[in-house]
Symmetry: C2
Subunit: 263 residues, 2 copies
């Protein structure tokens, strides 16, 4: 997968699309440490569309047919919604922490024979910093946002792959890790603790044409699921979030008090 990075960067880096940004170009020649691509990218300010269960992309005009028909279904949506009702929190650590629930999707409408790259990034949901009021069990605005962390993207490690392969089974981003270390060199997603974020999912058609850069803006489609938004934290604040994590994450089984309710 890593070998592909430079190629996809050159495609995505083309101006005209929401992916265009100076950081793309500067990271093309960056060294890979431990085989993990250091491909960094600050994606442009694509408006975050509201979505319910089925992803949507407001920019469907002038899209290549290889992506315009793509549709995405969020897996474990009811679990995401249960967390979202309480106010989802995701732990960030220096070494990097996986998300739970894991971001998983079911794809359809891809060209089975075409190559696609799948990736995720994270948009700040607002320009604020928060703190948790334990007495009222609620989040309060604690000021303006800290300086934005380096914008990074996470390529699904199976990228690139044929549409048929992506549609064959659920696509899981379980290798994605969140960190609060601004100097992270493991290729993890860097977020500011006590800030709110919106995960985004992107499907990119790998255009085989020589001058594919010119079509970069029409070769991708983005999806946003508002039920996956979350607060980055270094320790859980809302005790009900902690309990729901313990109840639903198999790796936290050691902290369960009672019944093995089916999740």
């Amino acid at each position: 997968m890593t070998a592909f990075i430079t190629a996809s960067l050159s495609i995505l880096a083309a101006d005209g699309g929401p992916f265009s940004s100076p950081e793309w170009g500067s990271s093309v020649g960056a060294p890979c440490l431990l085989g993990v691509p250091q491909a960094c990218a600050r994606l442009g300010a694509l408006a975050v569309e509201r979505s319910t269960g089925l992803g949507d992309d407001a920019h469907q005009h002038r899209k290549n047919q290889r992506v315009s028909n793509v549709s995405v279904q969020l897996e474990m949506r009811s679990l995401w919604e249960e967390f979202n009702r309480l106010g989802t929190e995701m732990i960030v650590t220096k070494a990097g922490r996986r998300m739970f629930p894991t971001f998983q999707v079911k794809l359809s409408g891809l060209d089975p024979l075409a190559d696609y790259v799948l990736l995720m990034d994270f948009m700040p949901l607002d320009d604020k910093r928060y703190r948790y009021a334990f007495h009222s069990s609620s989040w309060l605005v604690a000021g303006r946002a800290d300086p934005a962390a380096p914008g990074r993207v996470h390529f699904h490690p199976d990228s690139p792959a044929k549409g048929a392969q992506w549609m064959r089974q659920i696509v899981s981003f379980d290798k994605l890790k969140l960190t609060n270390n601004l100097l992270d060199d493991n290729g993890h997603i860097i977020l500011n603790s006590m800030h709110r974020y919106q995960p985004r999912f992107h499907v990119v058609f790998v255009d085989p044409r020589r001058d594919s850069e010119r079509f970069a803006h029409e070769n991708f489609k983005s999806f946003t699921f508002t039920e996956t938004q979350f607060m980055a934290v270094t320790a859980y604040q809302n005790h009900r979030i902690t309990q729901l994590k313990i109840a639903s994450n198999p790796f936290a089984k050691g902290f369960r008090d009672c019944e093995p309710e089916d999740w």
Copy 2:
């Protein structure tokens, strides 16, 4: 990686090279179960060249420059040699068993910007069936070989990748599993127990030319390390092999009696 299989098959299936075989063509359209490619291939009878440490390929004439300069170094060679002196045995099980030592190589001489596929296959070392004589602690010929198992290849899961990526660090085939189940549908390598085998390693340049099939025979290079040959078994026969496995395989640490000698 799996999405690539059909493409590589079409390249490798071309006649003229040692990879040519009817099985290649017939497996192109085969369904993938559990995402594991069912790409099967019976490779032609390439003569097994003797080799010591550094792999060699006797067929260097008319090779593409993208592969002709490739050289391969076997990792953990002294450990392989230690096993080989005793007569290496590899367990085969119905579910599939990893090799130990793991086949790992260090590559050089690849074109950093070109795409390569790395794969392994296993050649019968002779036409015999063996049994172990415990009284003399030696292997005896027990008759002619059983009917050959379905010839399969194992693509390194990072394939395809750029030469630069393959050369960046040691390439490990630790996902490769051996089975004695002739009906295996997990894509594992099928071997006959009580038969001797020679692992082979192949570097294939992914030719971007439209008519790449015509050049298939000159776009790969094969490497054989005689110190990696082994006897397939369902249970260890030579007790000294068992002890060396226990002493050197971290997963068998539970069976160690004494000192943590550095391996």
